[in-house]
């Protein structure tokens, strides 16, 4: 029997918990869910003045994605996959999840919404963000007194 603590850990979506190694979480899942493994579906890269975010979102309409920026917070609302007419379908297997998702990212710098680019390619939403120019640390020269 799994302890309460372990049960809670197993059912939390892995990408909600920064500070946990993804491989650790996948080990939790592999005990119970042999057939299907949760996809590590958010990837981020960053430097002091720019960042890149990739979100796996197969089968969606890119026009329905909502991206907003406020200071150092970037929020992405990913719509549910495009509705197919699946009424009356006889499913032999049904695993794909249909819901929408909202992901918030705290960037290491205030972002420039004007220099944010988003591309949807092969089912991956790729967002690149740059730091606001006026927020870059300014250098101050020391005059000889």
């Amino acid at each position: 029997m799994l302890s309460q603590h372990r049960l809670r850990r197993v059912f939390e979506p892995p990408f909600v918990r920064p500070g946990r190694l993804l491989s650790e979480l996948q080990n939790d899942f592999s005990d119970l869910f042999q057939a299907v493994v949760a996809t590590p579906d958010v990837r981020t890269w960053a430097s002091d003045d720019s960042a890149a975010i990739e979100i796996d979102a197969p089968g969606i309409q890119p026009g329905d994605v909502d991206i907003s920026i406020e200071n150092d917070e970037l929020t992405v609302a990913v719509p549910a996959p495009a509705a197919e007419d699946s009424t009356g379908r006889q499913y032999v297997l049904r695993e794909r999840r249909g819901g929408s998702r909202r992901q918030q990212f705290r960037l290491p710098f205030p972002a420039d919404a004007g220099r944010t680019d988003a591309v949807y390619d092969k089912g991956v939403l790729r967002i690149t963000v740059r730091r606001r120019e006026d927020s870059k640390p300014a250098k101050v020269a020391v005059r000889a007194g």
Partner: protein, 135 residues
């Protein structure tokens, strides 16, 4: 059904869930799939984000269909991995097909990270109407 998530990204590797390992061993992923029955075929829709037509591989051997796909993120110059597992992804899943499927005529196409495989039913498996002739 919707989910809310918050992720904090910091460039400082100490605090981040960093994939800082020098080796870029791909992550092995078992992709999610739907299979449904149409009138004259079965359709398999398998989710492999980042995989296009050229990155997908299908093999059929002894009635076992194996679907493979590889996805790799582009190199982001000057950026370090922050949160999430940034390694390349290797998708693989096998399905045992029954004799009801005509394995010689599978058709597959990738669209927006979903590989759709159309598997026509074998002739003997398609329901046929038999007309009753007057004697």
């Amino acid at each position: 059904m919707s989910q809310e998530n918050t992720t904090t990204m910091v460039a400082d590797q100490d605090q981040a869930v960093a994939q800082s390992a020098p080796q870029l061993q791909p992550i092995q992923i078992t992709p999610r799939a739907d299979i449904w029955e149409a009138e004259d075929s079965f359709v398999l829709a398998i989710e492999m984000p980042g995989v296009g037509d050229a990155d997908a591989d299908l093999t059929l051997e002894q009635n076992v269909l194996t679907v493979r796909g590889s996805a790799k993120s582009q190199a982001y110059e000057g950026l370090k991995p922050a949160v999430g597992d940034c390694r390349p992804r290797q998708y693989e899943r096998s399905f045992r097909l029954s004799d009801a499927i005509d394995g010689q005529h599978l058709e597959a196409t990738a669209k927006d990270g979903v590989l759709i495989v159309r598997m026509p039913k074998a002739q003997h498996a398609v329901a046929r109407k038999i007309t009753v002739r007057p004697a």
